[in-house]
Each structure stands twice: as structure tokens, then as C-alpha cells.
């Protein structure tokens, strides 16, 4: 027989009354991936996280309760930062997680940490059974990589450093997005500098 686990007792609320923990994790991960996309396993292997083509924000205090951004690179958009500025948090996002040459895509649904649309690397050609075993191993790796990100979040979330981390996230959200910077009309100083450089 396999021994029982030491996890929490049955009957407890699976979210522990902390419905906000998952959305906070994903919101933090979005910022962390934009600032420093790499995470490191204890064995030194590097995991790179990129936010892909789907972001879903939700918030009870804004006029619109839900904002869904699709296609392109919504993480770099005006709309994504505007959603955070209006008090929303990220509840679902499609991300790319790369380790070595293996690139996996997954949509994380933050409240329950559900995975949808998981896309694993194509296994090496071979017997169907071996390919399935390789895919199961890839799925395990994906879970390990996401656990690594969650663990990094929790480390700072329960530490006295959290308010400073939130301040850094706010500063990031307060800066113009790539979209905004591209769309903003050039200032006189910028135009003069460019003209000077061209002369």
C-alpha cells in the first residue's frame, strides 16, 4: 500500500478562504515575467516565462467587471495596464514556459490553478506507448515549472518584502506600455534631438 499524504485535512475549503491567492499569483507572474522572465530550479536549470495571446482580468470595483484581451501581445498593451489601474486582477492568462529547448503553452485559470489548452512539445517519433510516456513526463515537467513560479511568489508573498514588491509592480503598471510609448506624439526635445543626430 502507498502511504497517506500529509496534506491538509479533507473537508477544508480547497481555496482555504483565499480566493485572491491565485489571481494575485498570476498578476505578480505577469509583472515578474515582464521584468525578469527567468526562474531557476534548485538543480540550476532555467525556466523562462512569457505571457502570450490571452489575458483575462476581473475586478469588482470597476465599471466593467471583466476585460478579456486576445491576440497579439496583450501583455504589452495599453489595455492590460488600464485593467490593472482600474483595480482588476489577472484571473486567466495564456503563457509560454520554456525549459531548455522544450516550449510548453498553457492557459492558467488562477483561482483553482486549472490548466487549459495545454500544448506540449511533440514527442520523438516512436511507438505510441513510448510517446505517451514522454508526454506524461512533459506534463510533469510543466507542473514542476509552474510550481517553481508559485513557490517564488509565495516566498515573497509571505515575507515582509511583499509591500515593496507591490510598490515595484505599481511602478511598472504606472509606466507607459510599449503601445503607449509607440503611440505618444514625440516631444519637441525628442524631435530636436533626432534632427540634431541626423544633421
Amino acid at each position: 500500500m502507498i502511504a497517506p499524504s500529509r496534506a491538509a485535512a479533507p473537508g477544508i475549503d480547497a481555496r482555504g478562504g483565499l480566493d485572491f491567492l491565485g489571481p494575485e499569483f498570476l498578476t505578480w507572474l505577469w509583472w515578474r515575467a515582464a521584468e525578469r522572465p527567468t526562474f531557476h530550479h534548485p538543480d540550476g536549470s532555467e525556466v523562462c516565462v512569457l505571457f502570450d495571446e490571452h489575458l483575462e482580468f476581473r475586478g469588482e470595483r470597476s465599471a466593467a467587471r471583466k476585460a478579456v484581451l486576445r491576440a497579439g501581445v496583450p501583455g504589452a498593451s495599453v489595455e492590460a495596464r488600464a485593467a490593472l489601474r482600474s483595480g482588476k486582477v489577472l484571473v486567466a492568462a495564456r503563457i509560454v514556459i520554456a525549459r531548455g529547448e522544450a516550449e510548453r503553452r498553457v492557459t492558467i485559470r488562477a483561482e483553482d490553478l486549472d490548466f487549459s489548452g495545454v500544448r506540449l512539445p511533440a514527442p520523438e517519433p516512436g511507438p505510441a506507448r513510448e510517446r505517451l510516456e514522454a508526454q506524461l513526463a512533459a506534463l510533469e515537467d510543466l507542473e514542476d515549472d509552474l510550481d517553481l513560479c508559485l513557490s517564488a511568489f509565495l516566498k515573497v508573498r509571505i515575507s515582509p518584502e511583499w509591500p515593496a514588491e507591490v510598490a515595484r509592480l505599481r511602478a511598472f503598471v504606472a509606466t507607459p506600455s510599449e503601445d503607449e510609448r509607440a503611440a505618444a506624439p514625440r516631444t519637441r526635445v525628442q524631435a530636436d534631438a533626432q534632427a540634431g543626430a541626423g544633421a
Binding site: 490593472l84 506507448r129 509571505i158 505599481r170
Partner: protein, 225 residues
């Protein structure tokens, strides 16, 4: 043959003891709760099948083990009478009976009890003629990690899995939510998981107004205050 190139899933932690993956006990328990086809009057049924073929309910190491993991199928059949079809048939039957009653010199009406009886009879007849909808979802049981993955996000399937797992193994499944997984990760790292209980919601941004432009943009692109 099952393939996992794309999938959706939820993870669970196993709470309780399980038989060893390749043991006769594992096969016996799964066989005891194997999928059984719907009887004539049954509306729904669920049970274990093999992952490779939803018609096969013979469990052994060959059909179950993929590497170190147990892979099997959760089959769910459901038969439902189409309500509009039932209503239409009932209407026709009631009219026919009323007319027959009138022609026999009685009243041109069908009593409430008679109507209910007729409805029951028609529902049973239609049920017999209705083919069930068949779903089968992959379940991956990682006994080393004590983890179960159900490869769908269907709410009905998750409810069925938790009930069936408990019936089969006398063990329960705890969803690995951010909180549950967080507790485990903190324990693994030697941190106090109780720290999670003390957390309060973070307000990342005071919702001052939708569309507030950030600092650093020209004033013309800011919303008027």
C-alpha cells in the same frame, strides 16, 4: 491510442492509502467500479474504463501502467428525454384520448392524474428509444507524487471523479488550488504554512478611474480629472 499533445486538466492530491499500481488489489478495485452500461430506465451511469478504449473494462498492469503512472478512463453516459419531444407527444396523446372519450359519450377532457400517468409512460418509452450521450475522460494517477489529474475541466466530470475515486479506494481527492499547493510548497521549503492563513487581499491599484493615464505620457493623452 490516447495522446496528450493538447489537454486541459485539474490536479488533485490523494488523501488516503491506495493499492500499489500493478497489484491485483488495484485491478480488483477498479473492476468493482468499472463502467456498466445504462439499464433501460437508467438516466446516467459512470465508471472506470481503460484509457485506450472506452469499451474495455479489463484492468491489469498492461492496460493501466504507462511508465510509473496509472492511466485510465472515466466514462460517463447520460440519457435524457428531449423535453420538447415529450411535450409534443403528450399533447397528441391527450387530444386523441379526449376525442375518444367524447365519441364514447363522455367528457372531452383528460384528468390531471391521467395526464401525469400518460406523461410518465411516454417518458419511459422515449427513454428506451434514446441513445445515451457518451463521454470518456482521461485520468492520470501518479502514485509516486500521490497526485491525480483529470484531463478535462467539465464540472460534472470532476464531481463524478471525486465520488467514484472515493467509492473505489476509500480515499478522497483534494483539489490542488493555489492555497493547497501553496501549503505543500511552504512545507517542503521548511516555511510555516500557517503564514498563508494570515494573508489579506492585496490592492494592487486603487481604482481611481478607468482610463487614468500613467505618468510620463503627454498631458494631451491623459484623461481630464
Amino acid at each position: 491510442m490516447l495522446a496528450l499533445r493538447t489537454c486541459s486538466l485539474r490536479r488533485y492530491r490523494i488523501q488516503g492509502s491506495l493499492p500499489a499500481p500493478a497489484s491485483d488489489e488495484m485491478a480488483k478495485r477498479l473492476t468493482d467500479r468499472r463502467f456498466l452500461p445504462l439499464a433501460a430506465r437508467e438516466e446516467r451511469s459512470h465508471g472506470w474504463v481503460t484509457a485506450d478504449n472506452l469499451l474495455v473494462t479489463r484492468f491489469d498492469a498492461d492496460t493501466l501502467l504507462r511508465g510509473e503512472q496509472v492511466v485510465l478512463g472515466l466514462r460517463m453516459d447520460r440519457r435524457r428525454v428531449n423535453a420538447r419531444l415529450l411535450r409534443a407527444q403528450l399533447d397528441l396523446e391527450v387530444r386523441a384520448r379526449a376525442q375518444a372519450s367524447e365519441e364514447a359519450g363522455g367528457l372531452r377532457r383528460v384528468s390531471r392524474d391521467e395526464r401525469a400517468e400518460l406523461r410518465q409512460h411516454l417518458a419511459e418509452e422515449l427513454m428506451k428509444q434514446t441513445s445515451p450521450s457518451v463521454d470518456a475522460f482521461t485520468v492520470v494517477m501518479d502514485t509516486r507524487r500521490r497526485e491525480v489529474r483529470l484531463l478535462t475541466l467539465s464540472r460534472r466530470a470532476h464531481e463524478a471523479l471525486c465520488a467514484l475515486f472515493s467509492d473505489t479506494f476509500d480515499a478522497s481527492l483534494l483539489p490542488l488550488t493555489p492555497f493547497q499547493r501553496g501549503v505543500e510548497l511552504l512545507e517542503e521549503r521548511g516555511d510555516r504554512p500557517e503564514a498563508l492563513h494570515a494573508l489579506e487581499r492585496t490592492v494592487f491599484w486603487e481604482a481611481a478611474g478607468v482610463g487614468d493615464a500613467p505618468e510620463g505620457l503627454p498631458a494631451s493623452r491623459r484623461m481630464p480629472s
